[in-house]
């Protein structure tokens, strides 16, 4: 598998291994970071630095990386997200939130769950299951839009759809997610 080869290369020939790793995943890592920092007035250089730091961190944490737990791709995304959060924290700027229907915020009944990590974890699990239950195209649209911050036009190009089709599918997918999560 690609991951095994990459891990072996990173161990035996770090320079080549890093080259392969970055060639394969720089677009994704860059997008994850850009989605978090780009809207907070970070420069392109800051985003690139954060991406480079993510790859370096992955290299230095090879010993703790467990391929059975997740793929390199996923682990890089986790590291990228954490690094972006750290960068935001350093700027002491609270991340922005978006409104419900257009941008995917979900209204929840009951107590203020943001104060309750257990409830939030449960919601994460439910959300994962709900997104996984979508068809492949809708799943990709939701992940690209809300995780990678891609625009409808970018998603349309990636998935060979029209922009209006992406918007329609987004709307329907969010509706399904809300139904699935028991939220009106």
């Amino acid at each position: 598998m690609r991951d095994e080869k990459l891990l072996h290369m990173l161990s035996s020939d770090p320079e080549r291994g890093m080259g392969e790793l970055i060639s394969a995943y720089s677009g994704l890592v860059y997008s994850v970071i850009r989605a978090r920092l780009g809207r907070n007035a970070f420069s392109e250089a800051d985003i690139e630095d954060c991406a480079a730091e993510t790859f370096a961190e992955f290299y230095f944490s090879l010993g703790s990386f467990d391929p059975k737990r997740c793929s390199i791709k996923t682990w890089l995304c986790v590291l990228a997200g954490n690094n972006a959060k750290d960068a935001l924290r350093k700027r002491k700027r609270a991340p922005e939130t978006l409104s419900i229907d257009e941008e995917g915020s979900i209204e929840l009944p009951g107590p203020d769950f943001t104060e309750d990590e257990a409830l939030k974890r449960a919601l994460c699990a439910e959300l994962t299951e709900a997104i996984s239950s979508l068809n492949d195209t809708d799943r990709q649209i939701i992940v690209r839009k809300f995780y990678l911050g891609q625009s409808s036009a970018q998603i349309a190009e990636k998935l060979s759809l029209t922009v209006s089709n992406v918007d329609t599918r987004t709307h329907r997918a969010i509706k399904k997610l809300k139904e699935r999560l028991g939220v009106i």
């Binding site: 690609r2 737990r69 939030k120």
Partner: protein, 503 residues
């Protein structure tokens, strides 16, 4: 109340995220990717960071300096000074040292400092360090301000050793790429493969529209491969006969959908078999393609591949053996269909293979065994530094680290291993092991002996100003000769030294 999907995405654990990322990719342009690559490599101590802002090229500075020289030469009063400056610049050019950022006086001062081998001038270390970065000499990420004259001298020696022009020419019969042609956009448009005996060119074969990436010497001729990065169009295989004639050029990408040629073997009928790795999100596969001497594809199989990069292939009986990276070998029949796998293992060691050879009907694998836990130690060391790693291991007794202690540790961590496999083997068996050594090259001689180069670790030094989390040491290259019967005929000190990096 509301919460944000984006916020929830950031709280997913890796297992949950894994479920959602299938088929998801992002975008960044090539320049951005390159900058990320360089900056990431710099962060792990393997290169120099890339700046976003442009800067003057070395050539421009050299030209500018040359203009200054010309102006100075106009005045007799400046002749002597100009001569020294010219000598300094020539010296800089000869050794590919950049004069970027140096004043004229500094260039001369650095030149004098190096020529006299005093290494006491403040900017000398910085200049050497910069050039080492440029040449990507492994392991030398330096804070010049911390360098003593002795250390600067050592860096200078490393810089000289890295100069390919200073390395002696290859001896005996060998292949080389003697000329690459590029178009105005610097795309490679042709390559010339040459077979040489010492410095004498025996033949040359020009491959048009071929950006040669790998050359596979075969018993009679050579196979040239143009391997591409994944998902690009160019993947070609050329077969050249023993006289330098190109027998065929095949485009594997179109036919087979592969994206990297890993190994090529000559076949008894004069054709060749290629093993190529195809990567995709759906899973990797190894493409087996058997060509006739005229380039006709006569056998072709796609093998689902869950192993690492298949770096070596050899004939085994009527079929093939593929080294699948890590500790695995895969056996294939003559049609390229997998018939079994074997684990390369010996008690308590993680093994990696360096070379493979077919000798006397059996397959020999040369490599290195590291004790279990060594990889964790490597990673720990990379993260926390050498001193801390050693202190963890030896209980705070390793500061400062003596070379003798390092040699002992490195010898403890490495064992040279020679494995053998035959058609009846259920697993590779350790044929020979040498503690404190690295199994390297295997050669079958014309007089029917198997030579195994095994390098004994003899020195190991920790360099305090280095930030590469590794030690560099030297090895003594020993040559073990075996007869067809498998007896050890001789052990010879080749007199050559090798380089070993531990950690």
């Amino acid at each position: 109340m509301k919460t944000d999907i984006k916020e929830l995405f950031d709280k997913l654990d890796p297992g949950e995220l894994e479920m959602l990322l299938d088929g998801i990719d992002g975008d960044c342009d090539e320049l951005t990717r390159e900058r990320i690559r360089k900056n990431a490599l710099a962060r792990i101590g393997r290169g120099k960071p890339e700046r976003r802002n442009g800067r003057f090229s070395r050539r421009a500075l050299i030209i500018a300096a040359a203009v200054v020289i010309a102006l100075c030469a106009c005045g007799c009063a400046y002749v002597a000074e100009a001569r020294e400056y010219n000598r300094a610049m020539a010296f800089f050019e000869e050794h590919d040292i950049t004069a970027e950022g140096l004043t004229r006086a500094e260039i001369k001062a650095v030149y004098r400092d190096i020529k006299t081998e005093s290494f006491t001038y403040g900017r000398t270390a910085e200049v050497i360090a910069h050039s080492l970065f440029e040449k990507r000499v492994r392991g030398y990420e330096i804070d010049p301000e911390l360098m003593s004259p002795v250390e600067a001298k050592r860096m200078w020696d490393a810089l000289l050793e890295s100069d390919p022009d200073r390395t002696s020419g290859a001896e005996g019969v060998h292949y080389s790429i003697t000329g690459s042609e590029t178009d105005l956009l610097m795309n490679i448009t042709a390559n010339t493969v040459s077979k040489l005996d010492g410095e004498e060119v025996l033949w040359s074969a020009r491959l048009d529209a071929f950006g040669l990436t790998r050359l596979f010497p075969l018993a009679d001729g050579a196979a040239a491969a143009e391997c591409s990065a994944a998902r690009t169009d160019r993947l070609k295989l050329a077969l050249i006969d023993g006289g330098g004639s190109i027998l065929f050029v095949q485009d594997l990408k179109k036919e087979l959908g592969a994206d990297e040629i890993c190994s090529v073997l000559g076949e008894p009928d004069g054709g060749a078999s290629a093993f190529a790795l195809s990567r995709s999100d759906a899973g990797n596969s190894v493409i087996f393609a058997r060509y006739s001497r005229t380039g006709e594809l006569i056998k072709n199989n796609e093998i689902a591949w869950k192993n690492a990069f298949p770096s070596f292939a050899v004939h085994m009986g009527k079929g093939y053996l593929l080294y699948a990276g890590m500790n695995d070998v895969v056996l294939l029949d003559a049609d390229g269909i997998p018939t079994g796998t074997m684990q390369i293992e010996t008690e308590g060691m993680y093994c990696s293979i360096w070379d493979i050879a077919v000798y006397n009907g059996r397959i020999w694998l040369s490599g290195v065994g590291n004790p279990e836990g060594y990889l964790n130690l490597q990673t720990y060391c990379a993260k926390y530094g050498i001193i801390k790693a050693l202190n963890e291991r030896y209980g705070e007794v390793m500061t400062p680290v003596s070379s003798d202690e390092l040699v002992n540790a490195a010898r403890e961590w490495h064992t040279g291993l020679l494995f053998v496999i035959d058609e009846n083997s259920k697993a590779p068996e350790v044929f020979c092991s040498v503690p404190g050594a690295l199994g390297r090259k295997l050669t079958v001689t014309d007089d029917g002996r198997l030579l195994w180069e095994c390098e004994s670790i003899v020195t190991m030094d920790y360099v305090p100003y280095r930030n590469a989390y590794s030690f560099d040491g030297k090895t003594q290259i020993m040559e073990y000769a075996f007869s067809e019967g498998g007896e050890l005929i001789s052990v010879t000190d080749t007199g050559r030294m090798g380089i070993c990096t531990a950690m």
